[in-house]
């Protein structure tokens, strides 16, 4: 096997817990979605229900904190709840923001590929508006003044066969990941022997070769 591998020995014990018994809270799921979204080069499936549940929890907690404040509860307790709330909100916002950053960067590509279906309804709306504005702006400020043949927002010139001015996510990259369950033998590269992917090890994989496992939730990115 032509991969350089290092390390032996057992994990610290934290991840020896059988994943089926370990309960997972929404926060943990959201953290996972956040990490994956940050580490993946392309936009991933929007976690609709999870975001829904998380924002409900935030709302509930906001009401609790307000109640506490009105009832003159112990200020320390209130501030602890407030901190808990802040952490949850940070996670939720950061998750939504990282998606928006990707949408702004790759909006044209996303709208023309299957990635469109991974956006939430609001994100699709945002993306459309953003594209319209961008197109309008570029047309008004630059493109309309260029000579004929160079006025497309998608192409460098009329002679380009494909849309070569559309930024695309760079999928040809490598990501750190951990599998939650052993994945069995995977064909990593052409002409290489399949390799056993075990749980608990940290791997650096070509993104394309584990993309489907990230989507199915078997693999977490780091």
């Amino acid at each position: 096997m032509a991969s350089s591998s290092e390390g032996l020995g057992l994990g610290f014990g934290s991840e020896d817990v059988d994943p089926s018994i370990a309960m997972t809270t929404d926060v943990e799921l959201l953290k996972r979605a956040w990490r994956n979204e940050k580490a993946a080069p392309e936009i991933l499936q929007f976690q609709h229900e999870l975001v829904q549940r998380s924002s409900e929890q935030v709302q509930l907690m906001e009401e609790t904190v307000e109640d506490f404040e009105q009832n003159g509860a112990d200020p320390l307790t209130v501030s602890v709840y407030q901190m808990d709330l802040d952490r949850m909100q940070f996670l939720l916002r950061s998750y939504l923001r990282i998606r928006l950053q990707k949408i702004v960067k790759y909006m044209i590509h996303i709208s023309k590929s299957e990635a469109w279906s991974r956006l939430s309804e609001q994100e699709q709306k945002f993306s459309k508006r953003c594209m319209d504005d961008m197109e309008k702006h570029l047309n008004q400020s630059v493109l309309s003044r260029l000579p004929y043949g160079y006025q497309s927002i998608l192409k460098q010139s009329i002679s380009s066969e494909e849309d070569d001015m559309v930024p695309q996510p760079h999928l040809d990259t490598y990501v750190f990941c951990k599998s939650r369950t052993p994945l069995g033998a995977l064909q990593i590269a052409d002409g290489e022997d399949p390799m056993d992917v075990l749980a608990d090890f940290l791997y650096l994989f070509h993104y394309k070769s584990i993309r489907s496992f990230v989507e199915s939730g078997h693999v977490d990115l780091f």
Partner: protein, 226 residues
């Protein structure tokens, strides 16, 4: 928002990695009375011995009764002088000395340490210095451990070659992953790029037809040579 990192530079900022570490559990001894807290932010990847916690409930807090809480809560209470933090076992001078020795003895392996050992120890050194026995000794041991481990990835990087498609690592910690990520990723990308026959072909094509290709980081066009 503070702490939001630019995805194109590095994926996680140090503050974001620390944010994740703050959900790890530590044991505290409170010196106040406080009722059970029911929190949303509960991490359920636990170290084996914290398995028995019920979901989201911490406390009740009674003076001198040890209890387990997430690190962020421990630090918040500590800052207000409401508890002492029990130094985790792996952070004792004795344990750290063992780890450092083992780390030096096995040049190809990383010793098992908590996934967030860098951040946890840093937070405790900054916020709970009086609760850690031999603080200065422990701190310098952890620094030495980090250095030895860092040296190992550097030599690991030298092993990457054009035939490397996967790198497999064990016991690497979160902060370490974050630090080595750009080096490993770029090294592998560079090898893949210079190695692939299509790329060589592709460049010849590009040279002959002067056609630029879509790039990942925004519309950009090769400038014509003067």
């Amino acid at each position: 928002m503070a702490g939001q990192s630019d995805p194109s530079l590095s994926m996680f900022s140090a503050a974001e990695v620390e944010f994740l570490a703050e959900d790890e559990m530590v044991e505290i001894v409170p010196n106040l009375n406080m009722d059970t807290l029911n929190l949303i932010c509960v991490n359920f990847i636990f170290f084996g011995y914290f398995l028995s916690l019920s979901q989201g409930d911490f406390g009740p807090f009674r003076p001198q009764m040890a209890t387990s809480v997430p690190l962020w809560l421990a630090v918040a209470l500590k800052k207000r002088g409401k508890c002492t933090i029990r130094c985790p076992q792996w952070m004792s001078v004795e344990k750290l000395t063992q780890v450092l020795e083992a780390e030096r003895d096995s040049p190809a392996q990383f010793q098992p340490l908590p996934f967030h050992y860098v951040e946890i120890s840093r937070l405790l050194f900054d916020n709970a210095r009086d609760d850690i026995p031999d603080m200065y000794m422990a701190r310098s041991l952890i620094e030495d451990i980090r250095d030895v481990r860092f040296h190992k990835f550097e030599s690991g990087l030298e092993k990457i070659s054009s035939s490397t498609h996967v790198v497999k690592l064990k016991n690497l910690s979160a902060m370490e992953v974050n630090i080595v990520r750009p080096f490993f990723v770029r090294a592998l990308q560079a090898f893949a790029k210079h190695d692939s026959p299509q790329m060589i072909h592709h460049q010849q094509d590009a040279m002959s037809s002067r056609q630029a290709h879509p790039q990942d980081d925004g519309p950009r066009r090769d400038l014509r040579r003067r």
